[in-house]
Amino acid sequence: MSDTNGSFEPRIVAFLCRWCSYAGADLAGVSRMQYPPNVIPMRVNCSGRVDAGAVMKALEKGADAVLIGGCHPGDCHYVSGNYKTRRRVLLLKRALSEVGIDPRRVHLEWISASEGGKFQKTISSYVELIRGLGPSPVRLARTESEPVADTVSAGVADGE
């Protein structure tokens, strides 16, 4: 994958809860709905399983963005896991903003098992959003010898 914006292909990790959003993804699949191949799906029992550390780890390992799919409010198989996830994502976005990472690189979406179409749309629009944002600065910083940011030398893209 090239790092120049023109042909940049985002790599997005998607944590999908098995009861709703992963099933929704499956439905999109068997219905032959087309959506971009940029997503690496990870099935979890509940979106509540996805803690802040896991999202940060994904970014640290080179994901350009992380999508979390959970059940609609009121529908969580484990009753309230999705509410916890929602609050976690809120705090996580603020933490990311404070260190200069665009908070849109983490996104939470409620997708039910019957919403194959919603899954398709969500993925398509999220990939486009991240394509516009460009590669994650965490990923870019890792390509340097020192794995942290530096105003002067972060990244090699754009020929600056």
Binding site: N5, D51, A52, G53, M56, K57, L59, E60, P73, G74, V79, S80, Y83, K84, T85, R86, R87, R88, L90, L91, L92, R94, A95, L96, E98, V99, G100, I101, D102, G132, L133, G134, P135, P137, V138, L140, A141, E146, P147, V148, A149, D150, T151, V152, A154, G155, A157, D158
Partner: protein, 326 residues
């Protein structure tokens, strides 16, 4: 581990980017220092004794039985001396929060070196130079590194003593073990393996946090858990071993001993905890707005959740989006 010549142990203490608090913490063992002096020769301790770098270079490799090394790797000199000491020491201890997890000064990674220098010295022409020729001689300054790291990012570390500074009970135990020739296996962390809540005297009911309180906003109930009352206390994500003295003083734990062993990112662990605890008492779609309002009361996520561990967090520093569109 007893050295053959004088029969005494040989120990050293060194500070890298440090405040001196860890050196003072060694004095908190009070008269036990006399036992240490009777059993050990102190070959290096710039705060309290007169050995110089030239003396350090002259020691043989492995000659110093144990070095207590505090402070983080902030300048090139810190790294060079860390490597020198690693060679001269049989056992190397990362002593205190800065050597362990980078400490408070790890927050400097949120800025670039250029931003720090501009803030401290102003325009670039005022910035210090690594080498200045003066009167036929040369004056050197060590390079201020782009990124601050803890000790084990530069050399292998044998033991860790967390805390800012490590509490006297732990220091006392460490010296007692050293003098008895009874050090634990390398890799040991001299702290509790459990989190702070385990030893905190306050009573925890694990209530929902319906509002966030800052420590000066109200006088806390002296008996109940601070987190239950709404103060952001890092206890759940922090190693114990300090007897929870801060909560005993009506102030929330700020996390200085770093994360417990099973946590990779201390701030992330606390984010998770708070997200679970914040709430109105009921879960439901109708509660979401109220929950958002509670979370809004939090300021300064990084400074609160990562105060002592930002240098070892998964995200480690500050980033700049290339296509910042706001």
């Amino acid at each position: 581990m007893v050295s053959s010549e004088s029969g005494k142990l040989k120990i050293g203490v060194y500070w890298a980017a440090s405040c001196g608090g860890c050196d003072c913490a060694l004095l908190e063992i009070n008269e036990q220092i006399l036992d240490v002096a009777a059993a050990a020769d102190i070959l290096l301790w710039p705060c309290a004794a007169d050995a110089k770098y030239s003396d350090l270079r002259d020691y043989k490799n492995g000659e110093i039985d144990l070095v207590l090394f505090n402070g983080a790797m902030r300048t090139e000199e810190n790294r060079e001396i860390a490597e020198l000491i690693r060679a001269k020491a049989k056992y190397l201890v990362a002593f205190g929060s800065c050597a362990h997890t980078g400490g408070v000064i790890g927050l400097a990674n949120l800025s670039s070196r250029e931003e720090i220098f501009a803030r401290v010295f102003g325009p670039r022409e005022n910035w210090p130079k690594l080498e200045v020729s003066k009167d036929g001689g040369t004056l050197h300054l060590p390079e201020f590194l782009n990124t601050l790291t803890p000790l084990d990012a530069v050399v292998d570390v044998d033991y860790y003593v967390p805390g800012c500074p490590p509490p006297k009970g732990i220091v006392s135990d460490l010296f007692a073990a050293l003098l008895a020739g009874d050090l634990p296996p390398t890799g040991t962390v001299f702290a509790s393996s459990k989190n702070l809540c385990d030893e905190c005297a306050r009573e925890r009911e694990q209530l929902k946090i319906t509002r966030i309180l800052r420590p000066h906003e109200e006088e806390p109930d002296p008996v109940k858990c601070l987190l239950d009352q709404g103060y952001v206390c890092m206890g759940p994500a922090t190693r114990g071993g300090c007897k929870a003295v801060c909560p005993a003083a009506n102030m929330p734990c700020t996390g200085c001993a770093g994360p417990t062993a099973n946590i990779e990112d201390q701030g992330a662990a606390m984010l998770n905890t708070l997200a679970s605890l914040v709430g109105t008492g009921e879960e439901g779609e109708d509660q979401l707005e109220a929950e958002d309002a509670i979370l809004e009361q939090l300021d300064d996520i990084v400074g609160t959740f990562y105060r002592f561990s930002s240098a070892t967090s998964l995200l480690k520093g500050r980033y700049h989006e290339r296509n910042a569109t706001g």
